[in-house]
Amino acid sequence: MSGDTGDKKEIKCVVWDLDGTLWEGILLESNEVKLKPGIRQIIQTLDSRGILHSIASKSDYDDALAKIKEFKLEAFFLYPEISWNAKSTSIKRIQENLNIGLDTIMFIDDQPFERDEVQHEHPEVFCLDASQYRNLPDHPRLNPRFITEDSKKRRHLYLADMKRKKIEQEYEGPKQDFLMSLDMTLIISQAKEEDLKRAEELTVRTNQLNTTGVTYDFDELKRFLSSDDYRLFICELRDKYGSHGKIGLALVEITDKFWQLKLFLMSCRVLTYGVGTVFLSYILNEAKKAGMIVRSDFRDTGRNRMMYITFKFANFREIQSQTKGEILLENNLTKIQEFPPYIHVIIQ
């Protein structure tokens, strides 16, 4: 178990410059640019580890994208930013679209000026000189501890998200009808051993929608499974476009009087569907059935205010607040939000 946030985080997305970085030469000067040797392999290797790719390039959008397509690489790059904007702006937009932390982004560019500009605006971003690209597969921040089913298909999950967002933007009509049209199912179960790698990965990767930011490794999680004092819940979201994967995790310690939430987290990828409250409602209802009230640990990590708001709006109140941002929340279970009509909930 580790609550230390000082560690360098695993990189979630590599943002590439194009001219002089991904390929040799400058596209606007010559259409005959060539990919740098070995670059395709490197992109595929990182992709198979669940690391995403994007682009921040100053160039003509249509020309650059046509070239990327010619190289058959277009499916690898999510939310590419090709414009004449400052690269710090491009990176901010990519970060917002992917909904990941700036400190989980690596930016690769051959121009010192561009790296300095990004570094100056976003000190959290890890900037790398393009001449170092061959070392990427060995870089410690690009070697996640586990590669799970969810990480292997991560890019496809994001591609499906891009499609959903596009459809949502084009959808005219009440939000409820749109949500109904997604045909969402939330599947909640008690975690099994085969879920634990993903569970560990969630504790490491999830920052914003996370009550404590405490990470648990595989062996710790495994001990919870065999203990009568703990319950570990995991949930998966599916909709008509496919599965979002396992996206929520809750660790409950069961005492004489309380169900104590030691950890509650939801992947930021599903933030826009508001399913966190549904998962939370399920746990509150289960505790109520068992005749318990619910308490929750909470630690202000500087990044998880969203989760604090979620809990307060789910009728938790602070009963104890300590220095270092550690807070104890309690819910007397008098008001529990019902499941909304647009999500089908399955308990396994």
């Binding site: 009440p174 939000k175 409820q176 949500l179 929608l209 939801m266 933030l271 826009t272 569907y273 508001g274 399913v275 966190g276 409250t277 549904v278 969203m306 604090y308 708001i309 979620t310 307060k312 709006f313 009728n315 109140r317 602070e318 607040s321 807070i327 008001k335 939000q337 019902e338 909304p340 009509p341 647009y342």
Partner: protein
């Protein structure tokens, strides 16, 4: 536009109300009327912070301050004056 109108407009466009035909009254409990999910909660908090240029402290984030249009307005009156 008055605070009440601004808040009503926001809630009407963001809250998924169980009964589409329902007209939102100023003292309707929005937690009973619709599904207040984590996303709506975030949107409401950030709307209030931006629109009325205040920062909500942890203590302000209390369900009773946000349960209806009227309660949001009186909470804002306490914070900001009329």
């Amino acid at each position: 536009m008055s605070r009440t109108q601004k808040i009503r407009e926001f809630i009407e466009s963001h809250l998924v109300i169980s009964n589409n035909e329902k007209v939102l009254k100023d003292d309707d409990n929005i937690f009973e009327l619709g599904f207040v999910d984590s996303l709506f909660a975030l949107q409401l908090v950030s709307f209030i912070e931006k629109e009325f240029e205040i920062e909500l402290e942890n203590n302000d984030l209390d369900l009773k301050n946000f349960s209806s249009i009227n309660s949001i307005v009186s909470f804002l009156e306490n914070k900001l004056g009329r």
